[in-house]
Symmetry: C2
Subunit: 168 residues, 2 copies
């Protein structure tokens, strides 16, 4: 696992510990890398509940409750679906904080014609407004897209965990 | 990813394709490695639905419906919990075939006092009797336990997929 991912994951769990939060994730194109990265960080047993790896549209609906109509209309790689995934992850866990990743790792564009590297994210925290964003990494290779997506998801989680201090 | 894992995963998805089956997984101590391994194999988009990474007992209950009483009585690392995880994975997906892994990757024994390396598995296929088994890898290091567990889970999946030819 790349060093930078390990260090951001450690930061996420340290902040989760500082602010007494637990974390769950939902990931598609990264296919388990986000879960693995968090599970290897110190404090995982206390702060990381686990995650949903929803590789197909159907499993996004079955495991997370993402409406199939939304998947049809917006495609699996969209901010709207990322939001529904994050919402579903909170709904199907008792964690406080969720991040969702859905993107095109490649090497081919997805079935909806989205380009390799396009990745959408959402961060949800119970009782707070949800936040979403997207990145276009370009066709930099499957592993590189996955690693950059995991890094961006972890950074967003860290920000969402730390935000409590300011807003509360 | 180790070469042997990639080749067993490829075999699983080739058999799934031959027998028109889809696959879902539930994993605990391997924390996403099984999902990742399957997602990198040819045919993943058609045959691999995704998985549930249930790192805590609570998330095993929330995401997969493993009874909390069972977790208390048997501990998270038990054949009974592996069976409940595999059953839950089928229940929360439309896949035909599920494998579950729950074990102690280490470096410390788990909270129930199970030794590092003890790993329990269950394989479920709709309409068939479930199958479970356990392995004791010993204290060979966290990564080695995880890789051997993923290899054994994939081998069990391949056998369950191929069994159709004999029984049908």
């Amino acid at each position: 696992m790349p060093e930078n991912l390990a260090s951001i994951a450690e930061k996420v769990l340290r902040l989760a510990n500082d602010f007494d939060l637990t974390v769950v994730v939902a990931e598609s194109c990264t296919a388990g890398l986000l879960c693995q990265t968090l599970s290897e960080a110190p404090g995982a047993a206390e702060r990381f509940h686990g995650g949903f790896v929803t590789y197909t549209k159907e499993h996004k609906t079955q495991a997370l409750g993402v409406p199939s109509r939304l998947l049809q209309e917006k495609g699996a790689v969209s901010r709207e679906v990322a939001r529904a995934m994050a919402e579903g992850a909170l709904l199907h866990s008792t964690a406080d904080l969720a991040v969702a990743i859905t993107g095109v790792a490649g090497p081919e564009p997805d079935e909806d014609g989205n380009p390799v590297g396009l990745t959408c994210f959402a961060v949800a925290r119970r009782g707070r407004p949800m936040y979403d964003f997207e990145r276009r990494y370009g066709n930099i290779g499957r592993t590189a897209v996955q690693q950059r997506a995991v890094a961006d998801a972890l950074t967003a989680l860290a920000e969402a965990a730390a935000r409590r201090a300011v807003e509360a």
